[in-house]
């Protein structure tokens, strides 16, 4: 009998043996698939978010300058603009006016931002796709349409009613879901915002290689300022969703360790039926190596089936179902939540990491303890 034919006979026998304990093995495959599904979903989601952020935020401001007061971000005086403009290499300095507004009607937080194009249209606003779903808590969302009016309570206690003039493209929901664009006079009136202040300043420079030098010069001229470079923004999203650090990995490693313990327990605590099976096999002439081979195939069959199923389901979950299961975690206490579909990004490194984190440990954990049972005297096993 050839080596391949021998392996196939052992595999045939292993699969029949697994079939005899159908209920137990199906339950194991379901749990195992779920563990791989969870780990793969986290990997796929984190990586796609990082890639998406890196692509979209490539056009974020080259440098943003904030002012800090007592360690917290504060409004920046507009007269900083002239002194920063005077630095060699700075091309333009523009003030940004933006802030947060808590909408008591819906319980949602909006990001309000001044758009210069609306300065000639006071009272008009452009809203993000998430804001169009504004509704009273517990009631079905009523979609806001063009010309609908939204009342805002100003910081001086008055009511400022702004009219929806249009919506921001739905494709941009990942960056604009909670955004309301309005004119500068409306913004200053709503927040009683001082006329000589802005939220922060955005800079463009002639040569991006000089960004760090310009940032140093700004902090020298204005020690209370904090420049944030575009690279800092890009690195933020690289770090924020790094699955190798933080709570996500801790939770997932807990789940995986629990699974390894389960697999170890299953393998070490062989049932009387399994032990008798090993005894009979040895009595009819199977070698210890053949039994270990059988256990290897058993582990491979279970882990590879779960691996392929788990990865495939994770792909569907993240890229087709928009990470439905993670929504409550990402959403937290947010009332407004963006509906977005991520561009699929997977690479062989992720698949290799998943394979070595899941299939290899399970297969090893199944074989090693079985070696002990495989070396027992068959007569003793069958008498048990």
């Amino acid at each position: 009998m050839g080596a391949i034919e021998k392996q196939r006979h052992i595999l045939d026998f292993t699969l029949s043996s697994l079939g005899r304990r159908k209920g137990k093995n199906i339950a194991l495959i379901i749990v195992y698939t779920f563990v791989i599904f969870l780990i793969a979903s986290v990997l796929f989601l984190a990586d796609s978010l990082k890639k998406e952020a890196a692509q979209i935020l490539q056009d974020a401001p080259e440098m943003t300058v904030q002012r800090l007061a007592a360690g917290r971000q504060d409004l920046i005086p507009l007269d900083y603009i002239e002194s920063i403009k005077a630095i060699k290499g700075v091309q333009s300095v523009e003030p940004r006016l933006w802030g947060y507004y808590y909408d008591a009607f819906s319980g949602a937080n909006y990001t309000l931002m001044v758009n210069a194009d609306l300065n000639d249209h006071p009272g008009a606003i452009l809203i993000g796709a998430g804001v169009t779903r504004r509704s009273e808590p517990g009631k079905p969302p009523q979609s806001l349409r063009k010309n609908d009016r939204i009342p805002f309570k100003t910081y001086e206690g008055e009511v400022l009613t702004l009219q929806v003039k249009g919506g921001l493209p739905a494709a941009s929901e990942l960056v604009t879901a909670d955004l309301i664009l309005l004119s500068e006079p409306d913004f200053r009136k709503l927040f009683a915002f001082p006329h000589d202040r802005a939220t922060d300043l955005v800079l463009t420079v002639k040569n991006t290689k000089e960004l760090a030098t310009i940032a140093t010069k700004i902090t020298r001229i204005h020690p209370d300022s904090r420049p944030i470079l575009r690279n800092d923004i890009l690195r933020t999203y690289d770090a924020v969703f790094d699955w190798r650090g933080g709570v996500i990995l801790m939770i997932l490693s807990g789940v995986f360790l629990a699974f390894i313990i389960l697999a170890w327990d299953k393998a070490t605590g062989l049932s009387a039926e399994e032990k008798r099976e090993i005894g009979i096999l040895k009595a009819i002439g199977w070698e210890t190596a053949d039994i270990l081979l059988m256990k290897f195939w058993e582990g491979s069959a279970v882990s590879l089936t779960s691996f392929f199923l788990g990865i495939f389901l994770a792909y569907l979950h993240v890229f087709l179902a928009s990470s439905l299961l993670f929504e409550p975690v990402l959403k937290g206490w947010s009332v407004l939540y963006p509906h977005f579909r991520l561009t699929p990004h997977i690479h062989s490194y992720q698949i290799a990491v998943l394979f070595f984190l899941t299939v290899i440990p399970y297969t090893v954990v199944t074989i090693v303890p079985s070696w002990r049972s495989a070396t027992i005297d068959p007569d003793a096993v069958m008498r048990m």
Binding site: A60, Y237, A239
Partner: protein, 104 residues
């Protein structure tokens, strides 16, 4: 009958698994090509409005705009007002803040 033995069924299902894996790579590549336009639209909005962050969660300002946050935002109101927003649990602090905290 081709699949007479259980091992045949097993190898066929393995093959299907590998094919599904390859299909995922193909689908991802096609999806990336089809989404180029959408990415360009998003980039245009980011450029036009000078946006700095993704809108992934709106519950707290330091998770809505993590790149704009300062070191003290999770302790929003007083020194012992610890981070209580769920999104703060899975989002790591921006590296430039960690550098500042460690380097200055």
């Amino acid at each position: 009958m081709i699949l007479q033995r259980k091992s045949d069924v097993f190898f066929c299902s393995l093959l299907i698994g590998v094919l599904l894996l390859c299909l995922m790579f193909v689908d991802a590549a096609v999806g990336q090509r089809l989404d180029r336009q959408r990415i360009q639209e998003r980039r245009a909005i980011v450029r036009a409005l000078a946006l700095t962050d993704l809108c992934l969660t709106t519950e707290a300002r330091y998770t809505r705009h993590p790149s704009m946050a300062d070191l003290h935002t999770p302790f929003q109101d007083h020194p012992l007002s610890l981070d209580h927003f769920p999104s703060g649990a899975f989002m790591a602090p921006p590296p430039h803040l960690q550098l500042q905290a460690g380097g200055e």
